[in-house]
């Protein structure tokens, strides 16, 4: 269950950051980045299929579960920092242990998704796919080209 993002909808309110921190005892896993005044973009774990963090983890704290989610076991984490360095997107951070998106395990939906007031985040593949198709269709209809 990946989280999809529609960046054109993000209003940069950082509600997702706050919500994530609230359910993870103050240590959040999502960062809203601002690119000048043009745009805001929440960056979080991509749940990579070929996950660098899992490969770098030597203690077995990070692993892939049956549903290909990257799950994290805080009990096994030593805070060695290797996963942080192996993440191409730079979304893991560490203090005494690593902090990484767990897709809000135990909840029906990740809290960033349920909180987002602009509907920029979703776990709905159909919706994400529909939006992507309509964007492409728009460009094609207006003459295409890049």
């Amino acid at each position: 269950m990946p989280v999809y993002i529609d960046i054109s909808r993000c209003i940069g309110c950082r509600s997702c950051e706050v919500a994530c921190q609230r359910v993870h005892a103050g240590s959040g896993h999502i960062n809203v980045h601002f690119v000048g005044d043009l745009a805001s973009f929440p960056i979080f774990c991509h749940q990579c299929e070929e996950a660098g963090c899992v490969m770098a983890c030597f203690s077995g704290a990070l692993r892939k579960d049956e549903e290909k989610r990257t799950v994290f076991d805080a009990e096994k984490c030593t805070g060695c920092d290797l996963c942080r360095l192996a993440c191409p997107f730079g979304v893991i951070w560490t203090d005494k242990i690593a902090h990484k998106c767990d897709l809000c395990q135990g909840r029906e939906q990740p809290v960033c998704v349920t909180t987002c007031p602009a509907n920029a985040l979703s776990t709905n593949f159909q919706q994400a796919s529909r939006r992507a198709r309509s964007r492409a269709a728009c460009i094609a209809a207006s003459g295409g080209g890049r």
Binding site: T78, L85, P88
Partner: protein, 139 residues
């Protein structure tokens, strides 16, 4: 007591994090990281067990042996120059990633960029795409 093989130590502070009696002290001062293993009589081998580089060994207690200390220069990010890791840690990442992740034309240079800059690059990339779309709509 702990014996340290400085050639194997990554400077990752795993041992310092897991030591129940806080006898392993890690200090980051600007450009340098130093690790200091204080004399230890505990019957515990957590630090050995959780050392990614297998750099530690237990040796009989001996007052005359100096306390081990290792220091590393922290590597500066190629973009923002902030110090974010030790060289052996980055080498370790390079060796754990599979060959197909190292094949693209840029190779492993991305490892030399700090996590914050990696996120910024990702944000700029996504924004460029969106701004392009917006300008198309207007036109």
């Amino acid at each position: 007591m702990i014996k340290v093989d400085a050639d194997l130590c990554l400077g990752c502070k795993s041992c310092s994090n897991v030591c129940p009696s806080q006898k392993i002290v890690c200090t980051d001062t600007g450009e340098m990281r130093s690790l200091h293993w204080k004399r230890c009589k505990e019957e515990c081998d957590l630090c050995l067990e959780f050392c990614p580089g297998r750099a530690l060994a237990l040796v009989p207690y001996d007052e005359s042996v100096p306390e081990p200390e290792v220091s590393f220069e922290l590597v500066a990010c190629k973009i923002c120059q902030s110090r974010y890791a030790t060289e052996p840690m980055l080498r370790r990442i390079e060796s754990t990633l599979p060959a197909n992740m190292q094949k693209d034309s840029y190779g492993l240079e991305w490892i030399r960029v700090c996590p914050l800059c990696r996120r910024n690059i990702e944000a700029q990339r996504a924004t460029r795409q969106m701004v392009l779309r917006r300008s198309r709509k207007r036109a």
